[in-house]
């Protein structure tokens, strides 16, 4: 069973909400990325998003843009992140891991080869913000053709409205609700109709509903706690890592606190 779906089932059973973080791979280097993954697994993180750096991250704000730029300068490539993934799985680490990436990186690698490599390295899911529902056919066909292929996570936005049923029809794992218009890391200035929007997704979704973009602490999502099944933190987590010089203690502290408050 896919690690994300297994985790979601466990959380549902236990009546708990999911906590998901995002880290740009290769920041400051891939060894540190591994340590951060292990520390989070130990702290009980539910899902980890690993960002594959791309030269033109149009869905991201300044924090992740800078992180991507630095990671590329450091020599981080998709091939190297695949190697790191294999090493992570070889140690017996079973935390669900999702690649957050742009479609050109997949396309350039070769779609079928990419899917096979994801399976071989134990990648559980894909988040591709510049691949909207209408453009997913090519990749989805390749994913459907192989067993144990990663899940293509579906994103919905505050303006998706009548598009939501179509997007969710075959969605698996969880649905990623973007909390505001624009890019990542703009702080908790959520969309004015956030609650209604999340409720409208929750009403039709067969799978857990996660909220992301602009979240810093559990307090940011508590007002909409009943409408979501979990929260995703990206830019803020990257800032925290940098401010604490990538200390695993800071990671443990942050993950533990967020989860406790989210499930309080």
């Amino acid at each position: 069973m896919n690690r994300i779906e297994k985790k979601m089932a466990e959380l549902q059973e236990a009546g708990k909400k999911a906590f998901i973080t995002y880290t740009t791979a290769g920041l400051p280097d891939l060894d540190t990325t591994k340590k951060i993954v292990y520390a989070q697994e130990k702290a009980g993180i539910d899902v980890i998003e690993l960002g594959i750096p791309f030269s033109d991250p149009v869905a991201d704000g300044p924090v992740i843009q800078t992180a991507s730029y630095k990671a590329i300068q450091n020599g981080t490539t998709l091939r190297k992140v695949f190697d790191t993934m294999s090493e992570i799985r070889e140690t017996g680490c079973e935390v669900p891991i999702v690649f957050m990436m742009y479609y050109n990186t997949v396309y350039h690698y070769g779609i079928e080869a990419f899917v096979s490599k994801c399976i071989a390295c134990g990648v559980d899911g894909l988040i591709i913000p510049d691949l909207p529902f209408e453009e997913q056919k090519e990749l989805q066909t390749a994913l459907n053709a192989q067993e144990h292929a990663p899940i293509l996570i579906q994103l919905v936005a505050p303006v998706s409205k009548q598009r939501i049923p179509m997007i969710l029809e075959h969605a698996r794992g969880f649905v990623y609700c973007v909390s505001q218009m624009g890019v990542t890391g703009k702080g908790a200035n959520f969309h004015k109709d956030l609650k209604e929007y999340l409720a409208s997704v929750k009403a039709v979704s067969q799978i857990p509903v996660m909220m992301g973009f602009g979240i810093r602490t559990a307090a940011d999502v508590l007002p909409v706690k009943d409408e979501i099944d979990g929260a995703i933190v990206g830019s803020h987590f990257l800032k925290l890592l940098e401010e604490n010089n990538y200390s695993t203690d800071a990671v443990t502290e942050y993950v533990t606190t967020f989860q406790k408050e989210l499930n309080a």
Binding site: S55, N104, H108, D130, A157, V178
Partner: protein
């Protein structure tokens, strides 16, 4: 067939937040171009404000020297000095019709930014132009022109701080503010319907040129030539001739220091497909699929991709795409200046250089029509530096 695609190229590779915006835009655009009132307005501004129609000029001395009839479509005589304004008038009218009050645009050299700032002033709309910090330094005068026209020029420091990054930033801002903001894309690129809109609002170039050549020569030309960066003047120049099978269509990409040096902007010469700025097309990219920087002495051709319809026209064989180096373009710029008293933009000089090459295999009664997309005033600093042997780009 999926109308969003040109063969395998095009599409809408944008975030979910923009999909509704694109749907509404597609619908409004299709309605507008079928509305006689909209067309009347567009034609009015093209005539009274832009100064169309512009001449199809017979370059007599060049024709005699090169042994082929050379006609120049004088887009350089438009208000603001290039073809860019044709498209901006169209898109800004559409923005007004859709009730948007703010315009945003990206710009490299500043020509599209100036055209957008100009039309924003004309229509009383708020305007922000995104421009790479590097480009702002290189094109100070155009920054000043935009500010004089009342626009805000937003410096972009991310990535390489050039046109592709300015485009990224414009897309990010648009995704956040689409409710009251219209994004005017200047080239034949971006997610559908942008490539189609830009073609629609630039096709006036070939509508006029085709009629003019028939009036002057009583027959169609043997060849039509235009320069290709993102591909707006060329798609406009080719549009009405695509169905004329006897007419050879040639697009000149920027070969920079030579395609073999890696320092060029000839996205189609290498033919590597990828996804950037909302479209699937030919792109300059490295072995990991990161986008590479383009190089050209001409800022307007300095873009790592090309419009999706051009990618399709290349593969279908209807249009030939060739590359012209910095040096060939600069030689042609001097030749046109001295022979005809017309200083072209460096972009257009690429097309001129290609015309000179083609005349070698053509006879005296054959005809080439070239799009002289813009005037050279903006490039005088670059031209001066080039002839002084100084570095002109990066």
């Amino acid at each position: 067939m999926d109308k969003r695609y040109y063969g395998e190229f095009g599409g809408q590779y944008v975030s979910e937040s923009l999909m509704n915006t694109l749907d509404v835009l597609t619908e409004e655009f299709e309605k507008a171009i079928k509305d006689p009132e909209f067309i009347k307005q567009y034609d009015y501004y093209l005539k009274e404000y832009v100064g169309r129609e512009n001449p199809l000029y017979f370059a007599e001395k060049l024709s005699a020297k090169y042994g082929t009839k050379i006609y120049l479509k004088r887009e350089d005589l438009n208000h603001t000095g290039a073809h860019k304004i044709n498209n901006v008038i169209g898109q800004a009218l559409l923005a007004k019709r859709m009730g948007k009050t703010k315009l945003i645009a990206e710009t490299g050299a500043g020509q599209h930014g100036v055209a957008t700032a100009t039309v924003a002033a004309l229509f009383g709309m708020e305007c922000t132009v995104f421009m790479g910090a590097e480009d702002m330094e290189r094109q100070k005068l155009n920054v000043f022109r935009m500010e004089l026209l009342g626009a805000k020029v937003q410096s972009v420091t991310s990535g390489s701080a050039t046109l592709k990054d300015a485009t990224n930033e414009a897309i990010r801002t648009w995704a956040e503010k689409a409710e009251d903001t219209f994004y005017i894309i200047g080239s034949a690129v971006g997610p559908y319907p942008y490539p189609k809109m830009v073609k629609e609002f630039q096709k006036v170039i070939s509508v006029e040129a085709r009629r003019q050549i028939l009036e002057k020569e009583g027959r169609l030309p043997d060849a039509v030539v235009a320069c290709v960066g993102g591909g707006s003047n060329s798609i406009g120049m080719f549009a009405e001739f695509i169905a004329d099978e006897s007419v050879r269509l040639v697009g000149a990409e920027a070969g920079g220091l030579g395609v073999e040096t890696g320092k060029h902007a000839a996205a189609m010469a290498l033919g590597k497909t990828g996804i950037l700025h909302g479209m699937k097309t030919y792109l300059l990219q490295d072995e990991d699929g990161n986008i590479e920087l383009a190089h050209s002495i001409s800022a307007g051709l300095d873009y790592p991709g090309v419009g999706p319809e051009h990618a399709y026209l290349r593969d279908s064989g209807r249009v030939e795409y060739v590359s012209v180096t910095d040096k060939e373009a600069m030689d042609a710029l001097v030749e046109l200046s001295r022979m005809e008293g017309i200083i072209p933009a460096i972009e257009s000089a690429h097309a001129m250089a290609q015309v000179f090459k083609m005349t070698k295999n053509m006879s005296e009664d054959q005809i080439i029509v070239m799009c002289l997309s813009g005037r050279g005033d903006k490039d005088m600093m670059t031209v001066q530096k080039y002839f002084n042997g100084e570095e002109t780009n990066k």
